[in-house]
Symmetry: D2
Subunit: 347 residues, 4 copies
């Protein structure tokens, strides 16, 4: 009953197999081997973007920060939600990679609204040389609070960006979960929706550590490669990144893994029923929910792991609810979910 | 007959096995799992440094740059050889991670001499607030040209650094090859020789991508961790780095792999005999040698791969020698070497 | 009737005289001349801080950014008000000088409350290596909206910082106006109130371009000097900065100039009476006030200059109020103010 | 007898007068006042470059670093002489402003030769994504060792840059001295000779602290302005920079001051005659010369000030020569020089 994070579970056997298969003979390093070339081609194909610049890195922080650094100048600001991973969870990596650009937090929740974005963009543009310049918009899909932007939402947000001539970055740490939830293609969720640079996350969805960065306009491709090397993110034995992504793309593994995670999430919501208040839309693989404190203690006693988001479970008496975060990884089983929800329902 | 690079060959089966073994169940991320803890303990034990701060990263560039960034300030300079990897092959990563520190190239070859280092350090200290401040000394062992510092050499260099109150960084991309060649312990080649921070390289010696950074004084440990995260180098699924290093440390695999590579190198030197002029000391796993142009063409025709360091093999007539670099990886076979040298000897 | 900014007016004759006096003979550069030494001593005396490190720079942005860069690390964040000059008006200079630190905007108005600061500090400290680290607190006195922190307010804010072990920076672009308004000494408004580093602004209060940065703990003095040089802010002909500050300190000129500006401000508030709604406490030299649109047009016609803060003066009909910012410089005359308020009162 | 530096002497009366004249009334800040506009126009006129982007800053380090930051990317390198001011005397400011670009020291003396530059440029371009990218060439005229590039030299150097598609930066801290020595126009020494960005120094030649940066291609003008503001180098009371430059441009003051300095230098060389060995071409305002130790002691006793470049004047016996640097400022008198050379000739 592990709901703590989608980086806590194992990788599927296909990934190990792909590493073993790739572990054969001598090949050029630094992404110039045949497998790496093929994987980039496959990604272009998947995204229906034959001209796109495609590169792999090993962490989401690197993917996001390098992408943003290719989009903005050090005197710019990036518009994002207040809970954006790039703001809260990357220890100033975007500031580091951009050379000191700022993040402007668009007021509101985890899902930026077009109106709030428009107002924030407008407010930032009034100070001439004195203020940060408007640089880019960053959207996380699915958000850090487990909510989904529908395609219409994305179109509306990117339209605001486009009107202000700002490029759009998509933090797709849970790209596959979003794609599956929306029933759309990667292209529909990215360039067809106005996204300029997308991170196609693999790590949270079952890889050991690989993310693809996709620039639909390849003009900054070489700059990105230089920034990646300068950041220490160009792997010499690149084939082991490529092999993981190759497995991910084969037989729609990426979609299959995300489908499993999302299905568990749906079962979880259904199973919680009225015994817990689900606080987000939970169409991806994350549930934020309130749990009675007593239930929490029972779950813990039974070995369930998850993150208490709000409230101190050990505070005083056993009354009052907690807010918990439940993340469904690809390897979670129906039995795990059933056992968890049974405990909750037992009250 | 692959002599092009020690990042071109496969990883040993033990590494794949270790990944498979680690791929079990749910564990905490970001290096807080039991395996990661154990690996750090094992490294401290190997280096006979119970107080050392030990961390893993995935690339040598990250290891070196993060280590240097923890040692120097942005207004400092790092003394290194003109051919240092940190200067020539990291696309300004040290400058990036240090926030703009400078590298001062100590005149001479790949092996800094104490006298040259002392002169360079002295020259840099005369400009008060106007000049770069003296920050650290960086030594590569074995050097980028395949030469070895004997322990006495290291002691002499670090004594110069110590006299100027400068910390010493050891770029140990080929640490194991050096250790085997010197027949010394990791401790003897690092803190016992005056090194403050060492990179214990795994990637070139058989891992997919893992380097350990070892601070013998743990005072900057937390800062290093923050810088690593800020650089996007903190892996969420850390166990897959730890597993590789665990395999590397088990049954002295690191030493075994380097011994093989060095043995091939010795066979290579012996086999070349008087048919090629070996230009470096070649006690590690790298040979720089002159080859007649005709021999080069024959080797290529037979499928040998290596890097032509000087001279244009395709220039005009077939006379004149080339300088080639021959790197022996752990997986190179005696037969490979024998075949290669036989071709050379055939003239 | 110039109320647009305190950087728009002339400098007092004493400053020109001081420049002329300093323009004599050959002296060492870079702040090593006798006058520069004397000025630093005088500042230490003024601040009753014999151990303080004191340095001059030419702009407020440099003063603030260099001070902050000496206080925080690149992976830190600085707590400040949402309208802080360091956030809104310095084009990412703090991010630049700190190497990419973040600014955390403490919710609320221009005057941070201890409670809001405490909550912001607490919220930022929960993410371990993933989040920005808590670095420093920055307070602007008087604020960018013309409000004053009383000494008790300062004590309360710095107590919050102290409890979290955070150093406190005081942006004193209008330090003198605040000091005069509070009727306190520079020491009372800085180190006695818990401030670690203060900017003693001269430019807005009558100098051509000089600000003093005062570190009450001199431990980072040398680092500051290196960062200043590295930022291109170490003037070779330093005496011309020192001369201005020398004039500023002579015969309490700094206090005299601020007293004039504040007196004009008080006259302005009194003169506006009920004909305009003053929106800030206006105890310094700045008034934010609502003005009827018709009055605004009359003022403009009569040659008054000031900044329209909210509302479009040229929009449609002549009804509805505007918010204007009226800044009183030292050179503003009683007649200027009287004329201005007479127009307002005429309605 | 002050030969220590051209930043040690006073400014001409015209500069003080201009400051006094500018000190009148209220004007817009940040370079938007009429005087600032006029000065920029005058500079465009002087340089015969009606389209050029022209901006003022207060220090040479700022001028050079900001110019370079507008020309190169953080992953680039700037080619310059080993004794370039940007390398030796700016405490890593170029690295800071460029975000971590490298400086490649072209082997040789203070005057780069086209052949050495060409070789350095060629050598830097062989490592693909691994090496620093070629970014720009920086030339100091007159050099830090007091030597002059003739116009042909400049043409030859910039031709090498042009062939490699590299922009050329001219560090003109002593621009006027060079221009006077060559008897050429500013245009001939800059854009007509292939220079892309020139620093037209005023500080060393008599201003309190003003340098003009001139981009002959204005494409990066806005970026430069943002970088200047971000560096804290945009003066609010800009008129006091502009006034100095205005005086400098009036009645060819800049040329007049440099002519005086160069004339003193010529007298100095003539006066030294065979009693000292002049080591540089000394056509500008700087002499490097050997002086007998005894002569040095006599000069010092008589009150002469200058910098001992090589040798320890206080070492042991009174034999052996010293190398000294003698800088002629605009305010040095014929009598100063005559007295100095008389002492030398007295032996």
């Amino acid at each position: 009953m592990h709901f703590s994070s989608d980086n806590a579970g194992p990788v599927p056997q296909q990934v190990l197999d792909a590493l073993a298969r790739a572990n054969d003979g001598h090949v050029p390093g630094y992404g110039e081997d045949a497998l790496s070339h093929r994987v980039r081609d496959r990604l272009r194909e998947l995204f229906e973007a034959p001209e796109a610049a495609v590169e792999l890195v090993a962490t989401g922080t690197a993917a996001n920060s390098l992408a943003l650094a290719s989009l903005v100048q050090p005197f710019d600001t990036v518009f994002c939600a207040p809970v954006a991973h790039i703001h809260e969870d990357e220890c100033n990596a975007p500031e580091f990679y951009t050379g000191g650009a700022k993040l402007t937090l668009v007021p509101g929740g985890d899902r930026m609204t077009p109106a709030a974005l428009e107002a924030a963009v407008a407010a930032e543009g009034t100070r001439g040389v004195h203020g940060a310049q408007r640089g880019a918009v960053s959207i996380t899909q699915i958000t850090e609070r487990g909510n989904l932007y529908d395609l219409d939402d994305l179109h509306a947000l990117t339209a605001v960006a486009r009107a202000a001539k700002l490029p759009v970055h998509l933090d797709g740490a849970r790209f596959a979960n979003a794609c599956v939830a929306l029933g759309c293609t990667p292209a529909e969720m990215t360039w067809k929706a106005g996204v300029d640079v997308a991170v196609f996350g693999g790590t949270k969805n079952g890889l050991m550590g690989v993310e693809a960065v996709i620039f639909f306009d390849p003009a900054r491709h070489w700059e990105f490669q230089l920034r990646r090397k300068r950041g220490g993110h160009l792997f010499s034995k690149f084939r082991y990144l490529a092999a993981q992504m190759d497995a991910y793309l084969s037989d729609d593994l990426w979609r299959d893994l995300a489908s499993r995670a999302n299905a568990r999430c749906a079962e979880l919501v259904a199973g919680l029923g009225k015994h817990a208040q689900v606080l987000n839309d939970a169409r991806g693989n994350i549930v934020f929910a309130t749990l009675p404190r007593a239930v929490h203690h029972r779950l813990r006693a039974e070995g369930a792991s998850y993150y208490v988001w709000q409230g101190d479970p050990d505070a005083g008496d056993d009354t009052g609810d907690l807010v918990v975060r439940l993340v469904c990884g690809w390897s979670l089983t129906e039995e795990d979910v059933a056992r968890f929800t049974a405990i909750v329902r037992a009250g």
